[in-house]
Structures are given as C-alpha cells and as structure tokens.
Symmetry: C2
Subunit: 359 residues, 2 copies
Amino acid sequence: MAIELGYTADYHVHLRQDEMMRLVTPTVRQGGVSIAYIMPNLVPPITTLDRVIEYKQELEQLCDSTTFLMTLYLSKDLTPELVEEAAHKKAIRGIKCYPSGVTTNSNAGVDPNDFSQFYPIFEIMQKHGLVLNLHGEKPSISNEEGKDIHVLNAEPEFLPALFKLHKDFPKLKIVLEHCTTKAAVDAIHEINKDLKDGEQPIVVASITAHHLFLIVDDWAGNPLNFCKPVAKLPEDKRALISAATSGKPYFIFGSDSAPHDVHKKAVHTGVCAGVYTQPYAIAYLAEVFDKHGKLDKLKDFVSTFGNSFYEMDESKLRSKQKCWLVEKPNLVADTVAQGGLTVVPFRPGSKLRYAVEWR
Amino acid sequence: MAIELGYTADYHVHLRQDEMMRLVTPTVRQGGVSIAYIMPNLVPPITTLDRVIEYKQELEQLCDSTTFLMTLYLSKDLTPELVEEAAHKKAIRGIKCYPSGVTTNSNAGVDPNDFSQFYPIFEIMQKHGLVLNLHGEKPSISNEEGKDIHVLNAEPEFLPALFKLHKDFPKLKIVLEHCTTKAAVDAIHEINKDLKDGEQPIVVASITAHHLFLIVDDWAGNPLNFCKPVAKLPEDKRALISAATSGKPYFIFGSDSAPHDVHKKAVHTGVCAGVYTQPYAIAYLAEVFDKHGKLDKLKDFVSTFGNSFYEMDESKLRSKQKCWLVEKPNLVADTVAQGGLTVVPFRPGSKLRYAVEWR
C-alpha cells in the first residue's frame, strides 16, 4: 500500500542554529516534509532582513530539496517599513508572535494583553498577505482576587485576543499555532462557521503530531514529552485528533518539532520545552490517522490545506518530488546524534507502521 | 522571637532503606520533627511483622531522639490474623493503602475501585484503633465512552471511595494522605461538618509542605518539584493553605518527604516522583504560615491535631525535647549528600526566615 501525499508541508519548524541546525535540518526531508516554515526564535531572535536571508542560505546549503519559508520575530525591533520591504522582497512569508516568557527563547516577545502597538505592522501584513503566526498562550499569573492563569488554561485565556485580532484585521491571515485544547479547536470552528465549500479560510490553527498522542500524564515525570503549550486532557486530545482528521481546511499541520540536546532534557530543574518529531513527522501522523480510520484525510492535513492557505504551488518548490506514505516497519531511533549533540526523538524505540518515500 | 511547637510530628515520612535510609533518617530531627510516621513502600513492601520490627530497629539506630511510628503495606499478603497480632504487639500504628501504579513502589497496591476484599482487615483495624492511611488517587484511564481519569482529577475521582469507606466503617480512623485539591479539602470539611468543639475527628487529611508552595506550572519542566499527587491549580493551593492554617483538627501535617537520588530526577524519561522536604520541614511550613499571618496556628497543624488523632503522648516519646521555631536566616542547602547519594532538597538555595531548635 502506498499513498501519494503531494507536496507535504510542515508549517511550524524549529531548525535552531550552528551545530544543532546542521544536525536537524536534513531530518526535515527524512521525516517526509518538502516545505518547512521556519521559526525565528534563535538567539538573538531574527528581526532583520539580512539575518533572514543569511539564515535561509545556511538552511538551503544543508538540504537542497527542502523548501524553506522564512519568518521574522515580532518585537519592538520591527517597523512597518521593514515589514513592507520584507514583503516586497518576498524575504518572509509571515511573522511569528511570541508572548514574552511562555516558551523557548520568547523573552523578547510581546505583551499578549495589548497588541495595539503592533497594529501598524499588522496593517502592512494584511495588505501584503503575510501570515501572523500566534503562539496562543497568556503568561501564567496567580491572583487571589482576579483570574488565575497557568499552563493548563493559558491557551483558552488567549482566545479572546485571537477573536479581537481577527475582528480588527478581518483580512489578516492568522494561524493559531500548535493548538492544544478543545476550547481552541472550538474557537477555530466558530470563526470559520460561515466558510463556504472551496472558500479560503483567513484564520486557521496548526496542530502538531505529538499533541495527537500526549496528555498531561505523559509529560508528568517525562521531560522528553514536555513542551509548550503542554499537552492537556484526554478530551482535548480527542478534539485535536477530530480536528486534524476532519477534512476542514482550517486545520493544518505544523509539527513544532523543537530539538534540544538530551543534556537540556535530562536535568532536575529548568527542562527545555520541546518535542523533537522531525525525522518521523509524517509517520507519527499516519499512525494516528490510521488508528482512527482517517488515512484518506492525511493529504489534506499535511499538504492541501496548508499549502492553499500559504499560497504555495509547485513553482515555488526546490524539489518537485512528492512524498509517498508506504506501509513499512519504521523503528524510531533512540537518538539522533552528530558532533557533540544528541537529540532524543519522540517515542524513541517505538515501531511505526508507516514510512515515507520520495518519488 | 521563638515559638514553642511542642512534640512536632510528621505523619507521612519516607525514609527508604540502605544507603538512602542512612542519609535521610537523621534529617527528620534536623527538620524539626520529633515523631515520624513511616511509610512501608520499600522494595519489597513491608508486609510482615518481622520486617516492621527489623525496619524500626534500623531507623532507631540512626537517630536516638526521633520516635518512629510504623505501618504495614496493604496488599493481598496481609491477613486479619496478622493485623490482629500487629495490633496486640503494638508493632504498627496504621496501614498504608496504595492504589496500584499511582506512585513510587505502588505496584503491589490495591484496586481502588473495590476495597471489599480488605473489609475483614478494616474490621480488625477499626476494633483496635489502627489508622488507615489512604493514598487517595485513582489510576489514570482514558476512555472514549466513559470518564477520563488523569493526574489532575485522580484525587477528586477517588473521593467517593473515601466516603464509602467512612460509611462502611464509621469508627475506622482514616487519613486522606497528602491531599492536593480544593475538592478533597471540601470533602474533609463535609465529613466533619457536625464535629463539635473538642471532639476527635475520625477522618482527617494530611497536607504536605510542598503543596503549600507549588502549582502545576512549578513541576512543568522541573522534575525536582514532580511528585504524586501532582501539585494542581492556584485555587487548589489556596484551599490547602486555608485548610492547613484553619485551626481545624482534621487537617494535620504529613510531609510526604520522598527523597530520590538526583540521578533519578535528572533524567529525560521516567523521573521518580517525590519532593524532599525533610531537613527543613517545619521551616518551610513556617514560611507559608507567616506569610498568611497564621504562625499562631502552626503548633496545631504540626503537633496538637496530629498527635491527638494518633493518640500520641509524652510517655510514648523517645525524646522529651520540644521543637522551637526561631527567627533566624536558614539557607536551604543545594544538596544533601552522603556516600554515593546526592539528594536535592525542595527549593535549593532559597533563604528561609525561620529555623528550629530543640529545648
């Protein structure tokens, strides 16, 4: 059995820099992904065009068949002029917005309680069809009088900000990244409730592979499965699986594959957040889709819907090979290592039912 | 300033065995605790009188001023006859019940959905005033049709079993150990709602020191703070603080101090559950009680109520010295080490406002 998945795309990829970049960049292709949408939360964050261009060249040298789509990091360093220029030069496809303090290298991020200072930038983005990628969490606070925010409700508490942004910029393309809750899935359905067949959604959510597997129990005591946003409850996982396999064009694949050296995972305090799924990205998804009898919806999720939203077509690709899903035992390695780095992939040692081929 | 706390007691203590036992047993006294109620979840679990007596002797040799109260591990290996004999010989003060699979060394535990096979044992315990110590969690299950149980609702889901046990054995002394949720606090209030002033409660809850500090965010990515039951939400923490400082005789101190070598905490998968608070037990509590203006309730929580419930008096003590809380800077060590073992205490490197003295 083989299924043609088209020009597969992962619309949320962390390829890091330096040694880690050299280690993980080739694994995008290995995992069955042709188009990778690259996150800008390097150290320092990517906030200039020169750095975007330089970073893209670095990545392209590491794999000649992967198409890299670039982003800027939303921060006070960005100006409407810079974004205008980036759009004209087609240097970026979107801008990533991190609330400060919620995940890896997000310290330079923004206050999610007030996006108004960035409205001039959003205007430019809307005009040029640039995509706003939202890490949809509010930072945690505990408050005797007011509302508590913690890692479990950080995403639902962010949703009003999503609705407001969409209301204020109805033509701005927005992705609620790596959504993890039934509340978020419901919000995306709500926003798209009047969408007609064949019509292009303006607001979509990306869903990772690992959140289709994990609940809170799985990261309690397992740093390997600890990521932000954290995996939530069984009912949330079911809602995510239902959304990813729904055949609705407003749920797209973004792995949020986030490698860390095992020495930053195996610590007794300050574990780095992130699950590394890149080398088996499509195979993990196939496992879940198959289990739920929805393999026929996999191409929509990993190719059709995302590429349509991001307006990708064959002419923009570095390789015209398509990804094929084949039924073939696929053993997840215990480690992916090179030089001084060792990264443990998601579900090390497990046997997957599917593998990928390029044809 | 100095406050006399009486014969302080920690009614939930893990002293382990072998090298770890030798390391941590002296720290009971250092932490300001005179009476330690010892958990039986060794490897193998303590299920015979010989082993109880032997273990107690081992502990007594390691500290001549701590009074050790012993327990058996509820399992199929226990018989009513054994429990009767243990009661007559005053070899144990209670029996600990672990649902299988919920925490460290709980594999030999019981099915919390059906305690009926142990009813003959509970009869004997009730007759002799032995205490039933419940780890009040249901094991996790995910179920498309039925009710999900996960680490966050495992305790609330257990509460009906507590009510049923109390109904079936109204004179059986029960402790809901290390309670972590507002739901559990409310349940204990409910059970004791008709308790008159000066009357002795039959069902109480123990509360740890660390659960007065932690919420879910604090163990997400911090294996040091990972324990079972996991710390829950801010509203739960507030309910625990309110209960511990309430002056109600049905909330007593049990640290659940659970040491693990740092090499079992700093791992990328399979982190051991447990927070080690023993060397600073009373000082951690004082920090919280002070912050909430409730230092005057500390003696109730750490001495009076627990000792009354467990019927402890001066005649049963190995040392007649009392614990005094003194205002004195108290720096939490980064590690507690001996031989080949290193244990990282709770809040390493933090500065506590209070210390303890024996007078």
